[in-house]
Symmetry: C2
Subunit: 155 residues, 2 copies
């Protein structure tokens, strides 16, 4: 862990705030002591609810590294990742995550992170979001085709 | 709910499988009876670990609707959303979600959805992913600046 990388993530959060593109969040991805991906939140400015700082930084790092995995990388973020970003981190598989502000700090300035953390583990029927299971024979068949596909790239 | 929209999501999952760009997942966003966003998984083909079908469809719908919220929309997906996508859905705020295959079906063909669902609710210290809290004075100060900012767009 190096303080300069957290400073870089925080500087991006400040840049994002000043840009007016979204919330006050910044993140960097670091590999072998070098920043390989950067992002600040740009949800409202780009009409993309998934454009959180961590997602933007992960996408930037993967593009720069020409890879869909962040093995050997660390992620520094100015705030504890929300569940969407934490999920993105699990899929990208960096080695470690460092965060500054907490989800409670985010809740205190009006962000839903904590609420979404409460919702995700609930059984589907108990969530505030209506979700309906519609089994579909062909959907299952396509899963089976993936299972037996010989030339697939797993992730 | 209309079966034609789930059929469209499943058709996209098939298209994605055939394309070789990623896993066998498809999704559509529907507003006022019309498909306004489409997506299939393209994680490996575009080097983007966040390019799950639901995320791609949400981003496409938001672009087409020129909005960062999906109020009044339904999301149809060929598989129960993973935690990243479920988080994205909470941020995009569609009215309802319909899904075909379940997370257990996804686990059975080798996808980590179920594992990530187990990890997200855990206390930070108990997750398999190392996460370290590094409080940072300026990061908190930037949160306070957001809180008092007069011309912000909330989301």
């Amino acid at each position: 862990m190096k303080k300069e990388f957290m400073d870089a993530a925080v500087a991006l959060s400040k840049e994002g705030l000043a840009s007016g593109l979204g919330g006050p969040f910044g993140a960097v991805v670091v590999k072998d002591g070098v920043i390989v991906g950067r992002g600040h939140n740009q949800v409202t400015g780009t009409n993309d609810p998934t454009a959180h700082a961590e997602v933007v930084a992960i996408r930037d790092a993967c593009k720069n590294l020409n890879a869909f995995q962040l093995t050997g990388c660390d992620l520094y973020t100015s705030c504890e990742p929300c569940p969407m970003c934490l999920g993105a981190i699990y899929w990208a598989r960096p080695d470690r995550v460092f965060f500054a502000n907490s989800r409670k700090d985010a809740a205190a300035i009006g962000f839903d992170d904590d609420f979404i953390y409460q919702e995700i583990p609930k059984p589907i029927s108990e969530r505030s979001l209506p979700m309906l299971h519609l089994p579909h024979q062909e959907a299952l068949q396509i899963f089976n085709e993936w299972k037996i596909k010989a030339d697939k790239t797993e992730y």
